[in-house]
Subunit: 657 residues, 2 copies
C-alpha cells in the first residue's frame, strides 16, 4: 500500500458537513438589519459520532488525531509495549466494550491473546503495530460539526474510515476536497479571496459612493486616517439601492479594528456624511474557487456578452452550494438547484457542488416534510440526482444516495389519491410557477414531474443493478449479491409499471382532445389550459408525437395562452422549444430578453426582467423596494441553451477543458 | 386578564432545552485529561423554530423580544399607524405567507380588511393593538438552543405560546422555572453557589493537601501572592486519589487570571510542589438548588447518619438531571433515573427534575435505538413515567408524554418473538445487572419488566381517558373528544390483553415448578435460577400468592442462589423484602451495608461496597484504579426504604414539608 501518495482529509459523519453548512447558508439572509432564516425544517448534524478502522500493520507506526471535539482515541492490539500508555479496561458501559472488541482477534505466535485496549487524548502521538490494530476515535461536539483529522504515514484519515452515529449501521466517512490540512476547521469555510479596487469613486450628498467593476460577494474594507468609528456603509446591487438608506438591504458598521464589514452582495457602496478625502475603500471578494471550464466564442458580440454575464452570474451563485441569488434569498432551493445542475454540466463541470447541494437539500431519513416545503421541489430533487449522475456517470454517488431516493418516493407514495395522482398533504405547497393556474385537486404539471420521477427511479435501479452485475463479474457469484441485483431489477420493473399507469391516468384525466392540450386540473370542470403542464409533457417525454404537435400549435405558439413570465419557467419553455428544433425562437428570446438586461446596464442577470418596466421600478419585486435579486442563478440559462442547442452552429465555438 | 401577576419565561421548542443540556451533561465526563462522551445516540435540538400567538387586545400595548438567535418578529394586524414600522409583503416564499395569515380576519368597522404584516428586529420595542394581533417570532441558532424572551404587560412569553419546528403540528412552548429573567441565556445553566473553606490543610510531599468537610461539585479556587502559574490541582474523592498524580481522575491548571479550576467532584485537593505558605484555597460548590423537604429523626444515631448521608449523596447527584454519580459517569442513565425518581418522591418531592430527566432520556420520535443502548433501560423509562405521574398526580405531563410512551412500546413491539417475548434486536444490550445470568433467547427478567410496561400503558391510557371524561364534563360532548376518549379505552383494553397474554407465556415458559422459582432462560435447558427475575416477579405483581411464597423460600431466603452484589439491584431486593414484610432483614441490611460504608469514613454513599475489600483496593472498580464512584445516586436507597416501610415505626419521625 503506497500510502505516501494518498491525500489526508478531515472526516465526519457523511452528509453532516453539508447539513451544517446548509444551516449556516440558510440562516445567513439578512434584510435591513433583520436576520431572515429559511422557513423550513432545518436538519441538524449529529453531535456524537465514532470513527473506526482496522489496520494490518507490517511494522510499528505512529499517528496523531486532531479535533476540536470532546473525545478520545481507543487503540486495540495485542499487548506490545507494557510501558506504552495506560492500560484501560472500560467502565460499566459493557456494550461498547463488546462492540469495540468485535472482529479483532489478535494472534501472537500460536496463542490467541485478548486484545489490549489503550486510550489516548487527542493531540498526542500514538505508537502502535506491528500486527492487527483496531482504532476507534470517539468525538462529541455540540456547537458545530464534530470532525477529526489523522496524520500518519500508514494511519491517516480519509473516506476509508467508517463512521457511526449510534443509530444506523456504519457508513463510509464523509470528506471534502477543500479540507485536507490539520490546521483547518471544517466548521469554518475557507473562502478564496480576491481584492477589488473601486472603478469609480464620487462624492454624493455629502458622502462617498464607490462603484466596483461588477457585482461581488465581498467584505467592504474601509481605511481612514480619522478612524472608521461612526461610519456606516450602505451596500447596493444598484446605485439607487446604495443611496437609499431606508430601503437598502445591507448596511454595516465597519469593525473598529479592521475596518471590515460582513460579507455580502455588493456592487455599489455608499458612506454618508463622510468626505472622500483620506478615505480608502476596497472590496475583498470571497468565493469558492470553482473554475469555469467552458469557453465560448463567436462573431456575435452580444451573444458573447450574454454568455460571459451568465457565466459570471452563475459563478457568483455557486459557492458551497447552489443558491438562488447572492443578495436574496441566499437559500438553497431545490427547484433552482435543478436548473443549476443542468447549467453546471456545461459550464464548470464540477460534480462536487452538485453532491453538496443534493445532500444539503435532502437531509436525513426519515423524510417527514417536502424539500423547501414544496411538493414539486421534492420531485425536482429526484430529477436532479438523475441529471447529476447522468452528466458525470457518478454511479458511486447514486449508490450512496439511492436509499434516500427510495424513501423520498415512499414519502410521496403516502400522499396519492385513488387514481395514483400525487396530491401532497393538507397545507402542502404545490408551487409549479408564479402563474394563474388552477390547483384544485390533482395538479397536472405535478403529475408530469411525478411520472418523470418514476422513470428516474426505474433508471436508477437499472443503473445500479447493471453496474452491480459488472462489478461482480469474475468475482464469483454470491447468493446475496444476486439477491440484491434481482431486487434492484424488481424495483426497476415496479417503478416502470407505476410510470406507465400514471402516464395512462394523466392522459385519461388531463388530456383535452378538443383543445389539443393538457388542462391544469379536472376538478373545476373549467378545462383551463396553461403552458406549464404542456411544457413538462414534452420535456419529460410524456406526450406522444401527435400530442406534441398539438401542444406546439395550441399552446406554445398560441398567444392566447398566457405567456410564461418568470425566467425560472422560461428555462423549461426554451428548452422544449430547443428540443423541438425551434432554434430561431430560442435565439430570438436569448437576444431580446437577456440582451435587454444588458441594455439596462446589467453586469449580472436578474431574477426577473420585464421590458415594460423602466427606471427605479425595475429594482422592485414582491412589492418590496429593491426586493428584486439582480444576480440570480436561474437567469444563467443561456449557458445551458447555447451549449445544448447551438454547439454545432457555424461561427460558434464552445470548448470544455 | 390580570397579566401583571403572571410570570415571564424564556421559551423554546418543548423538550429541546432538556436535549441540549443532556448533551452538555453527557459530554462532560472527563477522565485523566480525556473527554469521554456517552456512547449512545445523542439527540440534537431543533435549530429553526417559530413561536406564534394571537391576542385580542383591548388597547394599544407594547412588547420587546430578546434572543441570541437569528430571526425577526412578524406582527399581523389591521392597519393602524401608517407610519409605524415598514410595511412588508413577503417575498417568494408564498407558503409561509399563507400560513402566517391563516386564522386572522381583521374586522374594522363593517369592513373585513386584509391584515398588514410588519417585521421588526429583536431588541426593538414594538407597539400594536387594539384589536386582533397575531405575532410570530422566527428564530434560528446553530451553536445552541434557540430561545426567546418577551417582555410586555399584555404580551409576554410563557407556555401559552405555540412552538413550531416546520415538521410536526404546533405544540405548547417549553419553559423552565429557573429561566425567567431577560438577561439570562437558557443555553447556560445558572448554578447556585456556596463557598467552602477547607477543614484541614496539610503539607504532604512538598505540596499542599486540602480536605473539605464533604464531597462537593465545586470549582477549586487558588490565590497565591506569587501567582498560580505553573500550579496543578489534583482533585480526589478520596485522599489517596488526590495524592496519586497518575491515576487521579481530575487534574487542572487554575485559570491564570481568576485562579479557578473547572467544576468537578472533589473532597480532597492536592497541589504538588508548592508550600502552604501564602496559598489560599477554597471550593465554590455549584449546584441546582432543590431543597430537601423530608426530615428524619429517630433515637438511633447510626440510622440518622445513614439518612443524612444518603440525602447528601442524592442531592449531589440531582442537578439539572438525575445523574449516576458526580465523578463518574456524570451521565443520565435510565435505570439509575428510575431509582432516583422513586427516592425523590420521598426526599425532595421535586417533580421538575423528574420531567427534565424523562424528556432528556427519551429524545425525539421516531425512536430508533434503546435508551442508553439498553433494552431494559427503555422499559424502565415507561415505569419511570408511571412512578412520576403517580407520585405527583401529574396528568398534564402524562398527556404530553403519552405519545412517546406509545412510540417506545411500538418500537419494542417490533422486537418480539412468536410467543410475544421481547428479545431486542441483534447486538442490543440486555443488562439487567452485573450478575452471572443466562441470557440466551428471551430473558425472563426482561419479560417481567415488559409485562410491567404493558400494565403501565394500560394504566396511562385509563388515566388519560378518565381524566378526559372529567375535563369535558359539562362542556358538551363533541364527537372528536368522544372518539379520543373511547380510543384511549380501547388502547387500555388492548394493553391489558397484552399484559395478560405475556404473564401467561412467562408462567408457561419460565416458571419451574420443581424448583419453585422462575428460571433465567429456557433455551439452554439448564433451568438456571438467579434472584433477578424472581425479585421482579414479586415487585411487579406477576407471581401469584403461592408463587411468591415459593420464591421467598427457594430464592430470596436460599443462600445457594448467588447473592445480589450491586447496590443497584439490592434496591429491588430490599424493596421486595419490605413489600413482603421482612422488615428486620431490610433494617439489618441498611445498618450493616450502609453503616459499613460510614465506618470506612464515607461522607457520601458509594457505587459499590464490599465489606471484604479494605484499604486502597476499596476505591478500585472495573479494574480501574479509583474507578469507583464514591458518590452514587443508587446508593441513596435507604431514603426510599425507610420512608416507605418504616414511616410508622415507633421512635421514627419522617415529615415532609
Amino acid at each position: 500500500m503506497d500510502s505516501f501518495n494518498r491525500e489526508r482529509y478531515w472526516i465526519w459523519y457523511p452528509g453532516d458537513f453539508e447539513l451544517y453548512h446548509a444551516m449556516k447558508q440558510n440562516f445567513s439572509r439578512v434584510e435591513r438589519g433583520m436576520g431572515w432564516p429559511a422557513f423550513w425544517k432545518s436538519e441538524g448534524f449529529r453531535n456524537r459520532v465514532a470513527f473506526r478502522r482496522t489496520y494490518e500493520l507490517k511494522e510499528e507506526t505512529s499517528f496523531l488525531v486532531s479535533s476540536k471535539a470532546v473525545g478520545f482515541v481507543l487503540v486495540e492490539e495485542a499487548q506490545r509495549h507494557p510501558d506504552a500508555g495506560t492500560d484501560v479496561t472500560f467502565g460499566d458501559p459493557g456494550a461498547d466494550v463488546a462492540s469495540e472488541n468485535a472482529g479483532l482477534d489478535c494472534v501472537q505466535g500460536d496463542a490467541v491473546r485478548e486484545p489490549v485496549q489503550k486510550k489516548y487524548p487527542f493531540g498526542q502521538r500514538i505508537v502502535c503495530g506491528p500486527g492487527t490494530v483496531r482504532i476507534s476515535v470517539h468525538a462529541a461536539r455540540i456547537e458545530a460539526l464534530p470532525s477529526i483529522y489523522i496524520e500518519g504515514t500508514e494511519i491517516f484519515s480519509d473516506s476509508g474510515w467508517m463512521a457511526e452515529d449510534y443509530d444506523r449501521p456504519p457508513v463510509s466517512a464523509g470528506t471534502c476536497k477543500y479540507f485536507t490540512k490539520p490546521e483547518q476547521d471544517p466548521s469554518v469555510w475557507d473562502y478564496t479571496e480576491k481584492e477589488y479596487q473601486p472603478v469609480c469613486v464620487e462624492e454624493v450628498g455629502g458622502g462617498v459612493l464607490c462603484e466596483f467593476e461588477t457585482e461581488l460577494t465581498a467584505q467592504i474594507v474601509i481605511e481612514r486616517d480619522a478612524g472608521v468609528q461612526g461610519l456606516r456603509v450602505y451596500c447596493g446591487e444598484s446605485r439607487s439601492e446604495a443611496l437609499d438608506g431606508k430601503n437598502c438591504y445591507y448596511s454595516w458598521q465597519p469593525d473598529a479594528d479592521t475596518g471590515r464589514c460582513p460579507r455580502c452582495a455588493v456592487r455599489y457602496a455608499y458612506i454618508p456624511g463622510c468626505p472622500a478625502d483620506g478615505l480608502r475603500i476596497k472590496a475583498i471578494h470571497q468565493y469558492v474557487d470553482i473554475p469555469i471550464r467552458a469557453s465560448f466564442s463567436c462573431g456575435d458580440e452580444l451573444l458573447k456578452r450574454i454568455w460571459d454575464t451568465a457565466a459570471h452570474t452563475f459563478q457568483l451563485c455557486s459557492g458551497i452550494f447552489f443558491i438562488d441569488g447572492i443578495k436574496r434569498d441566499k437559500w438553497i432551493w431545490s427547484g433552482d438547484a435543478y436548473q443549476s445542475i443542468l447549467v453546471n454540466q456545461y459550464l464548470m463541470r464540477d460534480p462536487d457542488i452538485d453532491r453538496r447541494t443534493l445532500l444539503a437539500l435532502r437531509g436525513n431519513d426519515p423524510m417527514t416534510t417536502h424539500i423547501n416545503t414544496i411538493v414539486d421541489y421534492s420531485l425536482f430533487w429526484i430529477l436532479s440526482v438523475r441529471a447529476h449522475c447522468e452528466a458525470y456517470g457518478d454511479t458511486e454517488f447514486l449508490r450512496d444516495i439511492y436509499p434516500k431516493m427510495v424513501s423520498l418516493m415512499e414519502f410521496c407514495g403516502e400522499q396519492l389519491d385513488d387514481r395514483g395522482f400525487l396530491i401532497g398533504r393538507e397545507k402542502d405547497w404545490i408551487y409549479i410557477d408564479w402563474a394563474d393556474m388552477e390547483k384544485e385537486g390533482p395538479v397536472c404539471a405535478l403529475q408530469m414531474l411525478f411520472a418523470a420521477c418514476y422513470d428516474a427511479m426505474a433508471w436508477a435501479a437499472e443503473t445500479l443493478g447493471s453496474n452491480k452485475a459488472t462489478d461482480t463479474a469474475g468475482k464469483g457469484t454470491e447468493e446475496a449479491e444476486h439477491d440484491t441485483d434481482s431486487s434492484l431489477q424488481n424495483f426497476a420493473a415496479r417503478y416502470r409499471e407505476h410510470y406507465e399507469n400514471l402516464v395512462r391516468a394523466i392522459n385519461t384525466c388531463f388530456w383535452d382532445e378538443a383543445q389539443g392540450a393538457y388542462i391544469d386540473s379536472f376538478v373545476s370542470g373549467n378545462a383551463h389550459v396553461t403552458r406549464h403542464a404542456n411544457i413538462f409533457a414534452i420535456r419529460y417525454g410524456i406526450a406522444d408525437r401527435l400530442q406534441q404537435e398539438k401542444i406546439v400549435a395550441n399552446v406554445l405558439k398560441n398567444d392566447r395562452v398566457p405567456a410564461i413570465t418568470t425566467p425560472y419557467f422560461k428555462f423549461y419553455e426554451l428548452d422544449v422549444l430547443g428540443m423541438l428544433g425551434y432554434l430561431d425562437d430560442v435565439m430570438e428570446t436569448i437576444r431580446s430578453y437577456w440582451g435587454g438586461m444588458l441594455e439596462r446596464g446589467a453586469v449580472t442577470f436578474w431574477e426577473e426582467y420585464d421590458p415594460e418596466v423602466v427606471g427605479e421600478a425595475q429594482y422592485d419585486m414582491y412589492g418590496d423596494r429593491f426586493g428584486k435579486s439582480l444576480c440570480h442563478a436561474w437567469a444563467a440559462s443561456p449557458i445551458y441553451l447555447l451549449s445544448k442547442y447551438f454547439r454545432c452552429f457555424e461561427d460558434f465555438e464552445i470548448t470544455v477543458r
